[in-house]
């Protein structure tokens, strides 16, 4: 089914989550299952999904307002209604869905997740509410070449990395070369630009593409598959038996009344709404929101990054060995681990102890990260100030603090201004990583627009231009201040 977890990321997240919650977890493991009770008491069912996957879940642009719709959303609505609670939807990158429920960020995850045995070891699943089946997308011009999956022998096949489709193509299509990518939108683009011959994808999604793009055709996969490998189920934290049982009652009704057919039809209508007008201008509110969040995160993180960087840099000049050691370890550790992991650690790891919203988590992680880099830049800047300056300050009887504040740091900042500018510019670009925890920054919004409009390239171009406008504006501002400081010197 949909993309499965990247093993490495999951391992790191789980280890970090375990580290933080080990004590908490062991003391609660034997406790009674209160999952259903908790949801009822709260009066809300918090469901997490990744709305970039029509027809399962996607954003629709209706009268200028964006709304999350799709078959899975209808399933979640039905579940919440049957439980007599309010439905609260949270969006997040697919990679992070299972971690979100494991760490208690949400009660339930939905999103075309197939309940494989591997996943069953870490989370509980409801009954399967929908079985999609597998198929291949091909270019229309190739219909005669690839009449059925048998003709794909020796072809280059694309699939989402780590998914079922990826494994199946490798195992079942003889002599094939399988190319993996992260997003189905990218894969469709690869198909259309002939980088791959066929794209292994599940049937409802393939149907959606074929309906919206005449240059694509669908052929059946011809795979014989076990139900667990093709069905979609809802995921819950381990030990949520009472909640799973309650949800299964809704699943039974959905199966009996064939409600998914109705839901899919509704989703299809929404998809037409989306594709009526696929001009980027029509989606400007999406991009505007993305720019807003990207700027917000960058500005806040720049501010706190500089504050932290100054503190860390000054700690490096402390007389106390342990203070210096602390600053060095922090800097080395932060620089030695990827920002992506830090973002997930703050949101999921620390989030278990204190529940921090995604946006704040993103800002914290990016600030902490930037602080380490800024600290090194400032340290270099402080070292670049001539010793004569500190000697003059000392001979006047200035305290170390005053010397730093009035003499050294102002000069250091002037010397490092270009390097700091680089750091701020890369912050705007690197902050895009927060999209994995569902912060609606420009990258996140870009992927939503791509999924909604079935247009692979134009949204990327728009985002590229927007990023450039932001960084270019920042460069102009920085140059302006650099000029001012030069004048003062």
């Amino acid at each position: 089914m949909k993309k499965s977890f990247k093993a490495i990321i999951q391992a790191i997240i789980v280890i970090m989550a375990l580290l933080t919650v080990a004590a908490w977890h062991t003391s609660n493991a034997a406790a009674a299952d209160t999952s259903l009770q908790r949801v009822k008491q709260r009066g809300e069912l918090i469901v997490v999904t990744s709305p970039d996957y029509p027809p399962y879940e996607f954003m629709v642009n209706e009268n200028g307002k964006s709304k999350m719709v799709g078959m899975d959303i209808d399933v979640a609505k039905k579940v919440a209604k049957d439980l007599h609670v309010k439905l609260v939807m949270k969006s997040m990158n697919f990679d992070s869905l299972l971690v979100a429920i494991q760490t208690g960020k949400a009660d339930m995850a939905i999103g075309g997740i197939n309940p494989t045995n591997e996943r069953r070891q870490s989370v509980d699943f409801s009954k399967i509410y929908y079985s999609g089946g597998q198929s291949f997308l091909i270019n229309s011009k190739d219909v005669n070449k690839y009449k059925s999956a048998k003709n794909l022998k020796g072809a280059t096949i694309g699939a989402q990395t780590g998914t079922l489709q990826y494994g199946l193509a490798k195992k079942r299509i003889p002599n094939s070369t399988v190319k993996g990518m992260d997003k189905s939108t990218d894969l469709v683009l690869a198909l259309k630009t002939n980088k791959i011959d066929a794209l292994g994808i599940e049937k409802p999604t393939a149907e959606a593409y074929v309906k919206n793009d005449p240059t694509l055709k669908m052929i059946s996969s011809g795979y014989n598959l076990n139900k667990n490998d093709v069905g979609a189920a809802m995921a819950f934290k381990k030990g949520s038996g009472s909640l799973v049982n309650a949800v299964n009652k809704s699943v039974d009704q959905i199966q009996k009344k064939h409600l998914t057919d109705k839901y899919l039809a509704a989703a299809g209508k929404y998809m037409k709404v989306n594709t009526v007008n696929t001009s980027m201008f029509h989606y400007w509110t999406y991009f505007a929101k993305g720019v807003e969040y990207t700027l917000l995160i960058s500005l806040v993180s720049t501010f706190f990054g500089v504050v932290l960087g100054v503190i860390l840099a000054l700690m490096r000049f402390s007389k106390q060995k342990w203070v210096r050691g602390l600053a060095i370890s922090y800097t080395e550790f932060i620089r030695g681990t990827p920002l992506m992991v830090q973002v997930m650690f703050v949101y999921f790891g620390i989030g278990v102890v204190i529940n921090i919203p995604a946006l704040i988590s993103g800002m914290i992680a990016v600030s902490l990260n930037s602080g380490a880099y800024v600290a090194e830049i400032i340290r270099g800047g402080i070292n670049s100030v001539a010793t004569g300056q500190t000697e003059a300050a000392e001979s006047l009887g200035l305290t170390k603090r005053d010397m730093m504040q009035y003499v050294v740091l102002p000069q250091a900042f002037r010397n490092i201004w270009p390097a700091l500018g680089n750091e701020f510019i890369s912050l705007i670009k690197e902050s895009s990583i927060v999209s994995i925890i569902g912060v609606t920054d420009l990258i996140y919004q870009l992927n939503i627009v791509r999924a909604d409009t079935y247009r692979g390239v134009i949204p990327i171009f728009v985002a590229m231009v927007l990023y450039f406008i932001m960084t270019f504006a920042l460069t102009r501002i920085l140059n302006h201040y650099e000029g001012k400081m030069k004048h003062a010197g």
Binding site: G388, L396, L398, T399, D402, Y406, R414, A488
Partner: protein
């Protein structure tokens, strides 16, 4: 008052790694005295001067200022004592991020807790004294070397010090600017300021100094009046040095 010992140095030595830069230096500077320290380069003159306000930490020996041994005080006390000693550097070391006026006002406000208005008044008066009142709002980089050094002297004077230490104040200047700086220093000496001046300006030493100390190889080899030093040096190294200097002029 004339006999009050302001600075007293006993058995001062300083090593940089394995190199002995200063070896058993002794000396006394009395209130109102102007001491000029001369000698070949590498003699340890600057290091000696920098030991007087502990910019260099002596390896052994004591440096007494107004009776207090600076080598055995807390860093807080050291700050208090340092503000009573002004220092002027070869390379001026004005703060380039501040205007001339702010350069003069910083320490009085931060260290002496003077009010902004009072500090500004004092600063303007001092700038007037060194002939640079009109440069109050200029940045140091727009001044000539001679002007910068005069501002540096004014900055040190703004703290109303009891002693002024000069570390080759004219060595980094173009020849035509040396005069204006020496003039300011001469006035200062005439007003009775206690001064220790490391210099290569023999004319200045001759006319202003009360005592000239000749240093070579980390020792003070001779100390005498300017007349004796320049006319009848006793030490052979001093003779040699003075001979070369006079010969070259």
């Amino acid at each position: 008052m004339q006999d009050k010992k302001v600075i007293e140095v006993n058995h001062l030595s300083k090593k940089f790694g394995e190199t002995d830069v200063l070896k058993d230096i002794n000396g006394t500077v009395k209130s109102g005295q102007v001491i000029c320290v001369i000698g070949p380069s590498g003699a340890g003159k600057s290091t000696f001067l920098r030991c007087l306000n502990l910019l260099e930490k002596p390896t052994s020996g004591e440096v007494k200022f107004d009776g207090t041994d600076l080598t055995h005080v807390s860093s807080k006390q050291l700050l208090d004592l340092r503000e009573r000693m002004g220092m002027v550097f070869q390379s001026f070391n004005l703060f380039p991020n501040m205007t001339v006026l702010k350069n003069l006002m910083l320490a009085p406000i931060r260290v002496k807790h003077m009010s902004e208005a009072e500090a500004e008044k004092t600063a303007i008066a001092l700038l007037d004294r060194v002939g640079l009142k009109e440069k109050a709002n200029a940045y140091p980089s727009s001044l000539s070397g001679g002007q910068q050094q005069r501002v540096a002297i004014a900055r040190a004077l703004a703290m109303n010090p009891e002693v002024m230490l000069f570390d080759e104040p004219t060595s980094a200047l173009d020849p035509e600017m040396v005069g204006e700086v020496l003039e300011v220093m001469q006035e200062l000496a005439n007003e009775g300021m206690t001064m220790v001046v490391v210099t290569h300006e023999m004319g200045f030493a001759k006319s202003v100094a009360d005592e000239v100390w000749f240093m070579a190889d980390g020792y003070i080899l001779e100390r005498s009046s300017p007349d004796d030093m320049f006319e009848h040096p006793k030490n052979d190294r001093a003779k040699d040095f003075i001979g070369k200097i006079i010969g070259s002029v």
